[in-house]
């Protein structure tokens, strides 16, 4: 990890903690709704990975664009999508951010710079190169961020997107959330070179492997990538090493876990670590506890409203296929 991460101010740390708690509480609320049967279908949670969307979205500009995956609730929240409209989407309600059409794994919120989740592994990467390309002509100087997992690095479309972005020095930031698992299979068994960031140099682009559990490390690295992109320096691959503390999907029996894996991961998980750091800086236990309490209160209210919301009108099921 090339750069020394500078110490964030207590205020910045506190706001990171609050945001990560909002993400954590959102995911836990959605899990509750899925286990309770109010939500149906496959739901993929990012519990343990919150530092990455928090660090990355905190440097996002108004014209930038984010392309995420099925594991995208926290990225949408980081882009400013209201929790209620995310939960309503997961519940298939008319008030969902996509009116229930996308569901947990495929919703989109362009008004919030969130150009959608994607349930095809790697497919968002080429789309992000197009968003960056558009910025060359619309005068925004847009930077596009595409986030995907370690397993997606082995998908042809991601390769083509990285080479294209590097060849044309497109302002794209490829964020690889390396949580060591691709669904139920360990990434280190599926590659010859487990340090995925090494691919960046092969494409002729910048790349860094960072601690994906430290929002400040993510913010600084993604921030450098933004500067590089805006200055015409082209794309960057950021490999953010993290851990998924829950199953690949809600209901995953996780029989594939290695002994002690989750215990270790929990010690390093972003919220625990940051809360401890804040305590070291003398931030009071009450203030730290409030971050969680406020977040859970927000999600309770959001979920209640979402549950009360109407279902989409069946008469609209065929609308918006063509102009």
């Amino acid at each position: 990890m090339a750069h020394v991460v500078s110490e964030a101010s207590p205020d910045a740390m506190l706001s990171d903690l609050r945001q990560m708690w909002r993400m954590r509480a959102l995911e836990e609320k959605i899990r509750e709704l899925r286990l309770g049967g109010q939500a149906v279908g496959s739901i993929h949670l990012a519990i343990g990975q919150e530092a990455i969307p928090q660090g990355a979205c905190s440097v996002l500009g108004p014209d930038d664009a984010v392309f995420a995956t099925y594991r995208g609730h926290t990225w949408a929240l980081g882009c400013g999508v209201p929790a209620e409209s995310i939960i309503a989407e997961v519940l298939g309600r008319a008030t969902g951010i996509s009116g229930g059409r996308g569901g947990s794994a495929y919703f989109t919120a362009p008004a919030h710079r969130f150009y959608g989740e994607n349930s095809i592994v790697g497919a968002g990467a080429p789309m992000a190169t197009g968003a960056a390309l558009a910025g060359r002509f619309d005068g925004t100087g847009r930077v596009a961020i595409t986030v995907f997992g370690d397993g997606a690095m082995n998908q042809g479309a991601v390769h083509e997107a990285m080479n294209f972005a590097a060849a044309y020095r497109l302002p794209v930031i490829f964020v690889c959330e390396n949580n060591s698992w691709s669904e139920l299979t360990p990434i280190d068994a599926m590659v010859g070179e487990p340090e995925l960031v090494r691919r960046a140099a092969a494409y002729g682009m910048a790349g860094e492997r960072i601690d994906g559990n430290d929002p400040q490390a993510v913010r600084e690295e993604v921030g450098r990538a933004f500067d590089r992109a805006r200055e015409g320096g082209g794309p960057t691959l950021v490999e953010a090493v993290t851990a998924r503390l829950v199953g690949h999907y809600v209901g995953d029996a996780e029989q594939y876990r290695r002994p002690g894996e989750l215990d270790q991961a929990r010690e390093r998980e972003p919220i625990t670590v940051l809360a401890a750091r804040l305590a070291d800086h003398g931030v009071g236990a009450e203030v730290i506890a409030a971050a969680e309490r406020d977040a859970r209160a927000e999600m309770d209210t959001a979920a209640a409203a979402a549950l009360d919301a109407a279902l989409p009108d069946p008469a609209t099921a065929k609308d918006h296929l063509y102009v």
Partner: protein, 340 residues
Amino acid sequence: MSETTVAVHAATATPTERKLSYGEAVNAALRRCLAELPETLFYGEDVALPGGVFGVTRRLHREFGDRVFDMPISESAILGSAVGAAMLGRRPIVEIMWADFSLVALDQIVNQLANVRYISRGDLAAPVVIRTQQGNSPGACAQHSQNLEAFFLHVPGIRVCMPSTPQDAYDLLVTAAYSDDPVVVIENRTLYSGEKVPVRVDGPVAPIGGARKRREGTAATVVTWGAMTDRVLAAADELAASDGISVEVLETPWLNPFPDAEVLASVERTGALAVVHEANVTGGFGAEVVARVAEQVGRLRKRPLRIGLPDTRIPAATALTDVIVPNADSVRDELAEWLR
């Protein structure tokens, strides 16, 4: 399929009966093929150590070791390596987790796999089985809900089947693995953990092709396949109970080769044809069935009917899919209206 291998095997076959769910029947068929055909390999994403995202392929890796392995998320590598391995004498069985995902690598099926035997004039064969599953399930998004059989059925050189019962899930996969031609076996995840029913296993390998008359009737012939079959049967029973109309239901688990003779004979008898599939109507294989009947049967009592997903994308909310994905009630209503 390879008459020789089948013959050889048929001799040694001693059928027994076991109670299996659809998913367990797939597992039993894979185990049998791996045991009987030493050239078989079985691989795909999450199929070996984890035993599959639906648990369908459990214990196969433990039993067959390196012949069963996990793949990177690289569908072109999965399918392309299967083509190459088959050219060199293996009989790969590969899994594409969702039919929707085949679209990132369709080249290897259409431009590569389907050409092997033809271009080499039979010097090479490509006995590859592609196991996949498709269709909508509650809450599934547009990228995990499509029914793509019509794509595969427009490709000369590959065989296509869609089992809907545990017995066919077993039989068709075994037949596919014994076939010296490529076969796409399209399963359906909503069926995997269905009821356990008696399944004849270890019997002779069935020849490729054929239809299943699932219900006797005189008012019309209803052709269907895949997960729609149960819904159509429920609709047909409802129709008989409520409207006293009895339709013949013909399931065609083999779509290539398609059982023209059985379908034509039934339509000649009933004088009316309806085709029901979950895929969207325009360009669906129902059009092919209607066209073949129109070309070969003279006058029908009624104009043919196609029932399928309307031509739209597929939303996640069940409040929306409930009104567009064909189900027993909607099929019953459409048939009743048509036959009224």
